[in-house]
């Protein structure tokens, strides 16, 4: 039996595959155009519009946006009442990020190095499950947990440890009638809500560190603490940075948690919400919204300079 060296094209699929084989970039272009349009026009476009708005200013008397480029709006950010908001938000975001990193590490380490089979499934479920329920439900649940009559207050009263909570609530800056009206409560809820976003990238990074590397460190005479500092931490750092990008930027932009929990002090997200809504001051809202972007750029530049991505 003889057969031709070239098989006949059977249908459209065969012919299309042939076209893509002859022009590999055609397929790439077809696949990439829709997401690039979405990302480039809709997303980056609106970001550019935002940036442009922040250079406009508002007429104090008429409340009309003046479409002239000026730095006046940015100067307004530096007014004490506005600058306080920036400092408060960045401090909170930094504290939440640090706390999340500390809380997440043991969990991520256990999941990456020890959990197998069912335990691994239980880990993923445990970390992901809170993400399945509504964000608002979780925040309101926390309001009840943290309230004076809530379970924490109740447990503290029964164990005669209410003085610990009262002590914490009398620290300057953390004052409140209960945890749910103190910045401490805001901090705790932020930590809870964003923790999965720190655990998952951390776990992925730790999973890539081969066991033999830890053994090599011990073999060469390193104590556990030295191995942690000189091997595990540098190798897990890209994951920690990835997680901190989530926790940091999510905290910077959130406007619901500080509204429901805490002492109603303004955060960047709340300021943006109020300025673009009730106050109608779009330029100042835009200027506020640019701040987190700048902070993240600075943060990533510093992380890169410090060699956080060398192990990638």
């Amino acid at each position: 039996m003889t057969s031709s060296a070239i098989l006949p094209a059977k249908g459209l699929a065969d012919r299309l595959t042939a076209v893509f084989w002859r022009h590999p970039r055609v397929l790439l272009a077809i696949l990439l155009t829709p997401p690039l349009l979405w990302l480039g026009v809709v997303y980056l476009g609106s970001l550019a519009a935002l940036l442009l708005q922040s250079f406009y200013s508002i007429d104090e008397f008429s409340g009309v946006v003046k479409q002239e480029v000026t730095l006046k709006t940015y100067a307004e950010l530096l007014r004490p009442s506005n600058f306080d908001i920036l400092v408060r938000t960045v401090t909170m975001a930094a504290a939440v990020t640090f706390a999340c990193a500390v809380l997440a590490f043991p969990i991520a380490y256990y999941a990456a190095r020890y959990a197998k089979g069912h335990w691994k499934a239980a880990f993923y479920l445990g970390v992901m499950l809170p993400l399945w329920s509504s964000y608002l439900v979780k925040v309101y649940a926390w309001k009840l947990i943290l309230a004076k009559e809530g379970i924490i207050g109740w447990a503290a009263e029964r164990t005669h440890t209410s003085w610990i909570i009262e002590g914490l609530l009398s620290i300057p800056g953390l004052e409140g009638s209960s945890l749910s009206t103190s910045p401490l409560g805001t901090f705790m809820v932020f930590c809870y809500i964003w923790l999965p976003y720190m655990i998952l990238p951390m776990q992925a990074a730790l999973e890539r560190v081969p066991n033999s590397m830890l053994e090599a460190s011990a073999d060469l005479g390193a104590t556990r603490a030295q191995t942690f500092r000189t091997v595990i931490l540098p190798l897990a750092l890209p994951g920690v940075i990835a997680g901190s990008i989530f926790t940091f930027s999510l905290t910077l932009g959130d406007y619901i948690i500080p509204q429901i929990i805490g002492n109603s002090a303004n955060f960047i997200g709340m300021a943006v919400y109020q300025l673009q809504g009730t106050a109608g001051n779009i330029p100042l809202a835009a200027a506020f919204a640019v701040v987190p972007i700048l902070i993240m750029l600075v943060y990533l530049t510093i992380a890169r300079r410090m060699g956080a991505f060398d192990a990638l």
Binding site: E215, A216, A218, D219, L220, A222, T230, V231, D310
Partner: protein, 328 residues
């Protein structure tokens, strides 16, 4: 002579799996000792028992006479060259080599000087500033070696260190490792599943099978006088004769081994069989006969006539070449 490493009735069980089962072992100081066996035979677990990454379920391990049962890895004066080298990707070559000195608290200048010394020893002087990812497999292997030697261990453990290298590089590294061991006078314990590597490099070796040592001895002992069928099979190239065939060829009814080099072809004999395979080796031809269902190889030196495939032949050998052994 002091024993560098001593196992007394050492076992390591993982649940029902007896990875290492009641092993007795003495490794002489300054020797090049190989642990040979198929994967899962317990050789790597034995190495990890010496380095401290595994704890024995039973028995005693002594390193230079000292019981190390309760000594963690970082306090044992032995170092390991890992199978995957386990170089730290975020450190350059110099800092990798100096790592052991850094964790001991040696100053930067002193440890870098010592690291350069070790890099010179493995002929990688100019590579200190590179990252491990920028090196070839053979170079990484040398860095791992330098890093393990920088602490001046009393025993160097090597876990299949040449497994990832190509043949030519592997042979070159075998010579270099051997030379290095002579130069330093250190005890090397080497794990491999490659019988040629074990036979050509070791002063003495242990053949592992299913968690136990099947035989321990010099390469000549193991090759010429395998203690069991398993050793003869695994160390390879020797013919393994079942009892019936041994008796038919004029020996007692026991399992026996017969080296192809000691086997000649004959026109007639008590057992005849067809030639089933020929393999030209350059220095000679390996001729395989099928005798009573068993394949028996004979080595025909270059220049002598080689029978064609399919023809019938017999074998002949000196009585002394037949080595009797246990059935296990």
């Amino acid at each position: 002579m002091t024993a560098a490493v001593e196992f007394r009735n050492v076992s390591r069980h993982f649940g029902n799996v007896k990875a290492v089962d009641d092993v007795d072992l003495t490794i002489a100081e300054g020797s090049f000792f190989a642990m040979l066996g198929p994967s899962g035979s317990g050789k790597t677990t034995c190495l990890r028992l010496i380095s401290g990454f595994e704890k024995p379920t039973g028995g005693a391990i002594r390193i230079f006479g000292e019981d190390v049962s309760s000594t963690p890895p970082h306090l044992r004066n032995v170092n390991t060259v890992f199978q995957d080298y386990a170089l730290f990707p975020h450190l350059n070559v110099r800092d990798n080599v100096a790592y052991g000195l850094m964790v001991k608290g040696m100053g930067r200048a002193a440890r870098h000087a010592k690291a350069e010394e070790m890099l010179a020893l493995v002929k990688l002087d100019a590579y200190g500033d590179r990252k491990p990812a920028q090196l070839s497999g053979g170079q990484r292997q040398r860095v791992a070696l330098a890093r393990a030697l920088v602490n001046e261990p009393r025993v160097l453990l090597l876990d299949e260190p040449l497994g990832a290298l190509d043949l030519k590089l592997r042979e070159a590294m075998q010579d270099e490792l051997k030379a290095l061991q002579h130069k330093l006078g250190l005890t090397f314990v080497f794990v491999t599943h490659d019988q040629h590597e074990a036979l050509s490099m070791a002063d003495s070796l242990a053949v592992f099978n299913e968690g136990r040592i099947a035989q321990i001895g010099t390469p000549q002992d193991i090759y010429d006088r395998p203690a069991t069928r398993f050793v003869a099979d695994f160390v390879g190239s020797s013919n393994v004769l079942p009892p019936d065939l041994t008796r038919a060829l004029g020996g007692p009814a026991e399992w026996a081994s017969l080296r192809p080099e000691a086997t000649r072809l004959a026109a007639s004999g008590p057992v005849m069989g067809p030639v089933t395979a020929l393999r030209y080796l350059g220095s000679g031809t390996r001729v395989v006969l099928e005798l009573q269902g068993t394949e028996v190889a004979a080595l025909v030196p270059a220049g002598q006539p080689v029978p064609a495939e399919g023809t019938t032949a017999a074998i002949a050998f000196d009585k002394g070449a037949l080595h009797l052994m246990g059935a296990v």
